[in-house]
Subunit: 251 residues, 2 copies
DNA sequence: CGGGGGATTGACGTAGCTCAACCCGAGTGG
DNA sequence: CCACTCGGGTTGAGCTACGTCAATCCCCCG
């Protein structure tokens, strides 16, 4: 039985950093969007991007506001969610370095469908939708890469729809934990630590369940030795059995 | 109280038609993919597409099979769904003329994530994934149009996720009916007739509910004068109140 | 006119929501 | 450095929307 008292998450250095132009170019070149471009092309692109720093909890863009920018996460984690009329939030994605959000369309009169908030401190690169469109037109290879990214997200979204339509909470929760582990997990001895602060409410908003239900299910998982967790941190201790549950086996 | 005995759906002429080359070009030019292209470019594209006819009920592509083709619906309606391990189907989309399905990726070793079946008789245009990729590379404007299409579907998928996460069946069902009406409805006197054969099971698979629940809710809607329906057909009689329900008002 | 598959309705069970009390870890200010 | 507080987490006791099981209905077809 492991120590549940102290959070194993390293407190991330809260530096309101700004990248040097060189770093900015390296980050851009590392994103799936621009990876296929030559260095000189990336240099030409770089000054179209404005970088901004946000603190954990800050709202980056708000659902309903006119969608004028495309954003790329340079560092940190972003929560993308749809706030509903009755105050419930539905998280559609957790974004990390290299992911985009915001407007892909050029139509100026559209609005953001989702709110994006900084889950950790983060550095965001912003372009206007129009400028990004110019980039897409000028570099077809970037357009193709973007297409792959969006198609990938669509595939994920369909998987989530399947889960919400057909599977009970324990299964959705197991899937969500495994997906998070794969995307932002770090091996920590025999466990996989999910390297982000994540509340039960966040998990509830990601799985379409209520906080209490998530808390109960997490307690079940913990009692069964599948996970270890505390206040805003989670580690997976038995990925294999958790995978079984995600596939439909009983707890 | 309207006549519920006979189906108001016109029995569609079941002709295993093949388009002439001229018709094929006109159809391609009418899709969102190629609308921005000049006629001569479309002519050059047209012979990359192979057209195939399917009868209602036929399977066009099967989830799990290697994803080698991209398909565009030329005529008719296609149901796109994920069959789950326990035999339940989750419908992610109903596709009509101009919509695509299948593989957008170039990776040959991927598999289809969804099964596509002909909901009505239909005519499908097929290209290999590789050839379509060449088209995307050659005509950036097509790549951008494709990007818009995929981004649009992603937006829809997120809306569905919101619904499944946060709203009860009656609300999801009302939304689904209105969306169908908008996409494939025809004004029929004061009502909007949904021009496709649609079973309670189909609706259940689209809303993440069970047949019996859908049947009960449809009966409620009918008793309240919101819709009219029978064996595999539906008409909306009070779109305004139905919109209210989709927005959260009680029945 | 008979059969079959979709649709309907009823009776009942239960997963997950609601409401509410309580616990506890971590940051804060004296 | 301690006490206080506050926000996240846990647990319990009902309740209800929805699923399950099963019987019946009835449109459509041969």
């Amino acid at each position: 039985m492991s120590e549940r008292r102290r959070s194993p998450l390293e407190p991330v250095a809260v530096s309101p950093f700004h990248c040097t132009p060189v770093q900015l170019r390296r980050i851009l070149g590392g994103t799936p969007f621009f990876a296929p471009l030559a260095a000189e092309d990336i240099n030409r692109l770089a000054d179209r991007f404005r970088q901004t720093h946000f603190q954990a909890g800050d709202t980056i863009v708000r659902a309903g506001d006119p969608a004028t920018k495309l954003a790329i996460v340079a560092a940190g984690l972003v929560k993308l969610y749809r706030p509903t009329a009755d105050g419930q939030d539905v998280v559609v994605n957790i974004l990390k370095s290299g992911d985009y959000f915001g407007s892909l369309a050029d139509l100026g009169n559209e609005t953001y469908a989702e709110t994006a908030t900084a889950q950790t401190d983060c550095c965001i690169l912003l372009v206007t939708a129009g400028e990004f469109r110019e980039v897409l037109e000028r570099y077809p290879v970037v357009a193709l890469a973007t297409l792959e990214l969006v198609a990938d997200r669509l595939r994920n979204a369909h998987a989530v729809i399947e889960q919400l339509s057909a599977y009970p909470v324990e299964r959705r929760l197991a899937s969500t934990l495994l997906t998070l582990a794969e995307r932002i997990g770090r091996a920590d001895g025999t466990r996989i630590l999910i390297e982000m602060p994540l509340s039960r409410q966040d998990l509830a908003d990601m799985t379409g369940a209520k906080v209490e239900t998530v808390s109960r299910t997490m307690s079940d998982f913990r009692r069964s030795g599948l996970i270890d967790s505390g206040r805003r941190w989670i580690a997976i201790t038995d990925a294999e059995r958790l995978t079984g549950i995600a596939g439909g086996e009983p707890v």
